[in-house]
């Protein structure tokens, strides 16, 4: 897939400000036992921000859903798979799954399936920076500061600058 940046129709919001907003949405509903699980790679960056902002003690979990994707048959195992790392007992925990963009819901589905292979969590909630709508599965975000409707030919991409600062860009599929 070749994608190239295009000029966005509207100014894209500041991702760092959105992380702060997302943290404030989560804060009132935190349990002492709550742990964050970020989905590679954008979700991990957001989870790290939230971990800092919410001053959580438990280490965050990292999840790479490559082994659980439903498009394996079409795409195979090409992209570099990062090891999933869940450094806590999932059994009975309140988990917040963190991703950058919620779109079709298929990545979330894969992540939930993978988490259940580590144990039976007490609950899983979903926190995302952006919700693009157009779901293909019955999944919705519990915490989300930004809902945006984009043309399906556009890809909303979160990237980390060299300084570590997160920013949005819009790419168009060729």
């Amino acid at each position: 897939m070749t994608a190239e940046p295009i000029r966005s129709p509207t100014e894209l919001p500041d991702a760092e400000t959105q992380c702060v907003q997302l943290a404030e949405l989560i804060r009132p509903r935190l349990y002492p036992e709550t742990v964050l699980v970020g989905i590679h790679s954008g979700g991990v960056w957001v989870a790290r921000r939230l971990h800092e902002l919410l001053d959580l003690e438990t280490e965050i979990g990292l999840i790479d859903v490559s082994f659980y994707r439903d498009d394996y048959r079409e795409r195979g195992l090409h992209a570099r798979v990062k090891p999933s790392s869940i450094p806590f007992d999932v059994e009975g925990r309140a988990l917040i799954l963190v991703d950058d963009v919620l779109y079709t819901g298929r990545t979330t589905r894969a992540a939930i399936n993978e988490l259940f292979d580590y144990g039976r969590p007490a609950s899983i909630q979903l926190a995302v920076l952006a919700d693009r709508g157009r779901r293909q599965l019955p999944i919705c975000a519990d915490f989300c500061p930004w809902r945006v409707d984009l043309d399906p030919s556009h890809e909303l991409v979160l990237s980390a600058e060299a300084s570590g600062r997160l920013q949005w860009s819009l790419e168009q599929h060729a």
Partner: protein, 319 residues
């Protein structure tokens, strides 16, 4: 030149030999394996990648250990695994190799894991599948004759990378019956591709193939010279049947000259690791004090082997 292991897009579709595999493909397999290694540490040691796929272990030559590790790997990918001991069934009744394959394809096999006493048998099967238009069926070579044992080579590379991080400055000694060893050939190709500084083939003249220098290795007939200052020692199993011919005087004599003992291992670097593809012959090629010692990584090799085989099957089935 046509590479029978790659499809039209240059993706790995069969694993037949490490020879001719691009470096990037080897690295991709090793990287993917490290993700699978974590899966085996979980409560549920399975991922759904190969759900609904049928993996046929077709062993024309007996090997319980290799067959079992492939079976575990396939099961951890959620595949259905069918083990066929063809030496005792179809082949014994006179069926040809390719007829056996056609029958299994008719049962909707998705992948063959093949062990055969003849070099080139897995390649023959892959070639046949292409000719009959079954490109969607994948072949993994689980050892063919003296030719190759690519997943063992890959798991050896995984082990070396795990303990040594990088290949660039490594000196690796492969010791023993290199003549009959497909593991040695796979290791040599892999180490050369990954850029190891020096690979040494250590063994008696009778157990080294002629012109092995052409594979880019340094030949040593003396164990002490061979393992001096090396980072990795790969011991090969001395197959008992080799004792009957004129190749070796006796197991005791072999151990005296080429058995790895704490004294000879002391010549290697202090942080050198000792590997062995198993099964070991204690007191023939390796002393128990070494096999059970702190430098041995023989059991981790087994654990890594499952993850590497999961990676190979996971990558093949997706291409």
């Amino acid at each position: 030149m046509h590479n029978p292991q790659l499809n039209a897009h240059g993706e790995l579709t069969h694993l037949l030999s490490i020879e001719g595999l691009p470096r990037a493909v080897i690295i991709h397999i090793l990287d993917t394996a490290s993700s699978f290694l974590k899966v085996s540490h979980r409560d549920v040691k399975k991922v759904p990648l190969l759900r609904g796929k049928s993996v046929f272990n077709v062993f024309f030559e007996n090997s319980t250990r290799t067959r079992t590790t492939f079976e575990i790997a396939a099961k951890r990918l959620s595949a259905d695994v069918i083990n066929l001991d063809v030496t005792r069934s179809s082949t014994a009744k006179g069926e040809t190799l390719l007829d056996t394959v056609d029958n299994l394809v008719a049962m909707h096999a998705d992948m063959f894991v093949v062990r055969h006493a003849s070099s080139g048998a897995p390649h023959l099967i892959a070639d046949h599948l292409r000719r009959v238009g079954r490109d969607n069926v994948h072949v993994v070579n689980a050892g063919d004759g003296r030719h190759a044992h690519p997943t063992q080579g890959l798991l050896d590379m995984y082990t070396i990378r795990h303990y040594k991080n990088d290949f660039a400055n490594l000196v690796v000694a492969i010791v023993g019956d290199i003549l009959h060893s497909r593991v040695a050939r796979s290791d040599i190709h892999a180490l050369t591709t990954l850029g190891a500084a020096e690979v040494r083939a250590v063994g008696p003249q009778t157990l080294l193939p002629s012109a092995i220098e052409k594979m880019g290795v340094r030949v040593c007939h003396d164990l002490r010279t061979g393992i001096r200052d090396c980072d990795v020692v790969i011991m090969l199993r001395l197959q008992n049947e080799r004792m009957n011919g004129a190749l070796l005087p006796s197991a005791r004599e072999y151990f005296r000259c080429y058995g790895l003992t704490p004294e000879s291992l002391a010549l290697a670097k202090t942080d050198a690791i000792v590997m062995h593809p198993g099964p070991m012959n204690r007191g023939v090629e390796i002393d128990s004090d070494v096999a059970d010692g702190p430098q041995a990584v023989i059991l981790p090799q087994v654990t890594f082997g499952i993850a590497v085989r999961m990676a190979v099957m996971g990558i093949l089935a997706g291409n």
